[in-house]
């Protein structure tokens, strides 16, 4: 899990005014394009496949069957189909990551927007709060929140979202501050645009490109973080198909039936690599420098 830095794309305004020419698929490198395609494939198959694969939570065959044509990734200790569980797990994995990102953008975005647009003591107070969160070890705090609220997928998402929003608050606040000093905002203000409209129409859109880039780079880290928390029992209770929990329970059978813990682990790895490359691709798309 790489530590997340604040993405800088130059000034946000340029990204907006040049959006027409900036979004070219040609700007994306070959490897990144592969990543995007693989990611989209993973996302779409994991959405559609549940209708085609066998039920992931009932025994469908004898336990501990090695991978075969019938069960591509074998069966686990109770005879559930590992491939089917991995597919369902992938879906849970990226949907949860999306949920964390969405809540982080909403909370962090709102705080950053208010801080950046209002300035003064509101800004100082909100940013002090944000910095305090950033100074704490995120994963440990997320574990504490999720564990205290009680093990469930929802609480794990809440726990991670609690430590994730500050990045977006900083990002949006910085962009908004930079934009607020630009002439087009002065012009809008002088022509009598109301404050909410000024914020929503003239400041917010400029902050969007870096938020999109950060969000796409975040998917990888979130997929890994969620899998880690699920591994230590912070997630949906068994037999729900979650990649981390599957690997944790399967670890007991590592020597005799290695596919049981390794298949879900490798699924996390592939999803994370694809998300990493795709994130780089999205950055290339917006980054003109």
């Amino acid at each position: 899990m790489p530590v997340r830095g604040v993405v800088s794309l130059g000034s946000g305004t340029e990204a907006v005014t040049r959006r027409g020419q900036a979004s070219r698929i040609r700007d994306i490198g070959a490897l990144e394009r592969v990543g995007l395609v693989v990611l989209l494939l993973l996302l779409s198959t994991s959405l559609v496949a549940p209708w085609f694969v066998v039920d992931p939570v009932i025994p469908v065959a004898p336990p501990f069957q090695a991978p075969s044509l019938q069960h591509v990734l074998g069966t686990d200790d109770v005879g559930q189909d590992v491939f089917s569980r991995v597919i369902f797990g992938l879906r849970t994995s990226w949907l949860s990551a999306a949920a964390v990102i969405a809540s982080a953008i909403v909370i962090g975005g709102a705080i950053g927007l208010v801080a950046g647009a209002r300035g003064g003591w509101v800004d100082a107070l909100l940013m002090r709060l944000t910095d305090t969160f950033l100074a704490l070890p995120g994963p440990v705090l997320a574990i504490a929140v999720a564990a205290t609220l009680g093990a469930s997928l929802r609480n794990t998402v809440i726990g991670i979202a609690v430590v994730w929003w500050p990045w977006y608050a900083r990002l949006v606040r910085g962009e908004v501050r930079a934009l607020a000093a630009r002439p087009h905002v002065d012009a809008a203000r002088l022509s009598g645009v109301s404050a909410p409209r000024l914020v929503l129409r003239h400041l917010l859109p400029g902050a969007l490109p870096p938020v999109i880039v950060t969000a796409s780079l975040d998917i990888q880290i979130l997929v890994l973080t969620l899998a880690g928390l699920s591994f230590i029992g912070l997630g949906a209770p068994p037999p729900a198909p979650e990649l981390g929990a599957m690997a944790a329970r399967g670890a007991d059978y590592l020597f005799a039936s290695p596919w049981i813990p390794l298949a879900p682990g490798c699924a996390v790895f592939i999803l994370a690599v694809a998300a990493n490359l795709a994130g780089d691709g999205v950055r290339d798309l917006f980054d003109r420098s």
């Binding site: 790489p2 995120g138 440990v140 574990i143 609220l149 093990a151 230590i232 690997a247 996390v268 994370a272």
Partner: protein, 331 residues
């Protein structure tokens, strides 16, 4: 410098108070009744009330908060609902193993990151493998790496032990609790080697991701430094590339990777919970894991406070070290 020191220390103190507050709020916001859960669901109301009074949970929240803050300052986090001991004593028993593991891992990550970062810049042959490592290495979940390492180096090759800190019963205890250090102090080379062999797999599982992150940052800051005029001057006056790298470029490129190492420590401490569980490493990660299974909120809170404080402390030190090394870094 003194002003910088004072402001940074004050900032760290503020963060710590915020941490204690957050942990306290978290414990009171929890759904359900932890006291009833601990004495048993069949206990009578009087028993629950007595237990509540004994634990001080019947007082108004502000009073509880002040009490908790005061306790935390003295390093006490209340009684564990699972072990019945003060959480502080539990943590004290488990902490040295984690310090040894996390410390060894971050050193390993630093060395690995240094190697990767330098190779990626100076060797053209290493550019492609470095790229793969930067993308792939950062995407390996620590539990997958741990399981693969165990499968290969314990199960297939039988080179390294599976779990725990040592197989030797006669391992010296104290004074530091770090087996590597204690064995040297007692001049027990057999214990030292055994402890080292036990450390390698879990530390590697923890170190890969931070090593890649540090290597990545070092690579970009080295490239930046190599663009500077003074590097060209050094080359022009006839210094060997090796001297330019080790005597001049590397030193100026180390600031960002050092910051990264400090930040990575936070992630590493999260990974400790996973890796310690896999390797049955008797540290606070394992303790936290057991506390989570049991729903022992005070233990969870205590571990969070200790780990959080350690993290803030280390990162403040990193800041100060950088300010000392680079006079441009001031408030």
């Amino acid at each position: 410098m003194l002003r910088f020191l004072a402001v940074r220390a004050l900032g760290a103190l503020g963060v710590l108070v915020a941490l204690v507050t957050a942990v306290f709020v978290l414990q009171t916001a929890v759904p359900g009744d932890p006291v009833r859960a601990s004495v048993g669901l069949n206990a009578s109301d009087e028993v629950v009330a007595q237990e509540r009074e004994r634990l001080g949970l019947d007082k108004p929240l502000p009073t509880q908060y002040v009490g908790y803050l005061g306790q935390a300052v003295q390093g006490s986090f209340g009684e564990s609902l699972r072990t019945g001991r003060d959480v502080r004593d539990d943590i004290g028993a488990f902490l040295p193993a984690t310090i040894e593991l996390a410390g060894f891992s971050i050193l390993l990550a630093g060395a690995g990151g240094l190697l990767i970062g330098i190779l990626a810049v100076v060797s053209s042959r290493f550019a492609a493998p470095a790229r793969v490592l930067f993308v792939g290495g950062a995407s390996v979940p620590s539990f997958l790496l741990a399981l693969i390492l165990i499968y290969v180096f314990y199960f297939k090759l039988s080179w390294l032990p599976l779990s725990g800190r040592t197989n030797l019963d006669s391992a010296p205890e104290g004074p530091t609790g770090l087996l590597l250090v204690d064995s040297l102090l007692h001049v027990r080379l057999d214990v030292f080697v055994d402890a080292l062999r036990h450390l390698i797999l879990p530390a590697t599982a923890l170190a890969l991701v931070p090593a890649v992150a540090i290597g990545r940052v070092l690579r970009s800051s080295l490239i930046e430094v190599y663009r500077a005029d003074y590097i060209r001057t050094l080359h022009a006056k006839g210094l060997t590339p090796r001297a330019v790298l080790w005597k001049h470029a590397l030193r100026n490129a180390l600031s960002a990777p050092l910051t990264m190492a400090g930040l990575q420590l936070g992630l590493l401490l999260g990974g400790v919970v996973i890796v310690e569980a896999i390797f049955a490493w008797p540290g606070i990660g394992l303790y936290l894991n057991q506390s989570i299974q049991f729903g022992d909120l005070r233990a969870i809170a205590g571990v969070t406070l200790v780990v959080g404080a350690g993290y803030v402390f280390v990162n403040t030190l990193v800041d100060l070290a950088q300010a000392a090394a680079d006079p441009r870094i001031r408030l």
